[in-house]
Amino acid sequence: DAGITQSPRHKVTETGTPVTLRCHQTENHRYMYWYRQDPGHGLRLIHYSYGVKDTDKGEVSDGYSVSRSKTEDFLLTLESATSSQTSVYFCAISGTERNTEAFFGQGTRLTVV
């Protein structure tokens, strides 16, 4: 299995509080992604990174920010959590070639109450 660790695995938080999810890889892959998975929507891209300090927005980036200060770590922050951000969050990594697959973490189940 690819070395990807997401933390925490489960979190319950209150509306309006900040939340940070962490993705750590040991594969030295260039690309890292954050997706959210919701019933009926599949996986939707929040943000991605193509290198240290290089990030860009995905299709559902509103309310989220990211940072990548080291190759191995990609942080997703909800500045002020809302109930609509209750979801399962997946981190994924991939190499530099377009035909390489993405490897996924185990996911973080976030509940905003």
Binding site: Y33, G40, G42, L43, R44, Y50, R98, N99, E101, A102
Partner: protein
């Protein structure tokens, strides 16, 4: 814009029956196509991929998929389904964006296997 469509939200089959999960894509150039499987509570695992060459590709767990450019399709098949195949299946295409490669996923098809 590039997109992936999985027209079936749920598919129910009996154990031992054949399976076909549909995937259609829209993309102007040669697509890079993938199928992933997600077991409950788990992340996604690659089943197979296609980017060039033989249009019939073999994957893990006895799955195969056929790329048909004329139909913009990349359907997943298995000749005989096992109960352990019950899972969520995602088709994906990798698109280029400003020099980066972004996996874009369909909404998924949930496979239910009856004994």
């Amino acid at each position: 814009a590039q997109s992936v469509t999985q027209p079936d939200i749920h598919i129910t089959v009996s154990e031992g029956a054949s399976l076909e999960l549909r995937c259609n894509y829209s993309y102007g150039a040669t697509p890079y196509l993938f199928w992933y499987v997600q077991s409950p509570g788990q992340g996604l695992q690659l089943l197979l991929k296609y980017f060039s060459g033989d249009t019939l590709v073999q994957g893990i767990k006895g799955f195969e998929a056929e790329f048909k450019r004329s139909q913009s399709s990349f359907n997943l098949r298995k000749p005989s389904v096992h109960w352990s195949d019950a899972a969520e299946y995602f088709c994906a295409v990798v698109r280029g964006r400003g020099g980066s490669y972004i996996p874009t996923f369909g909404r998924g098809t949930s496979l239910i296997v009856h004994p």
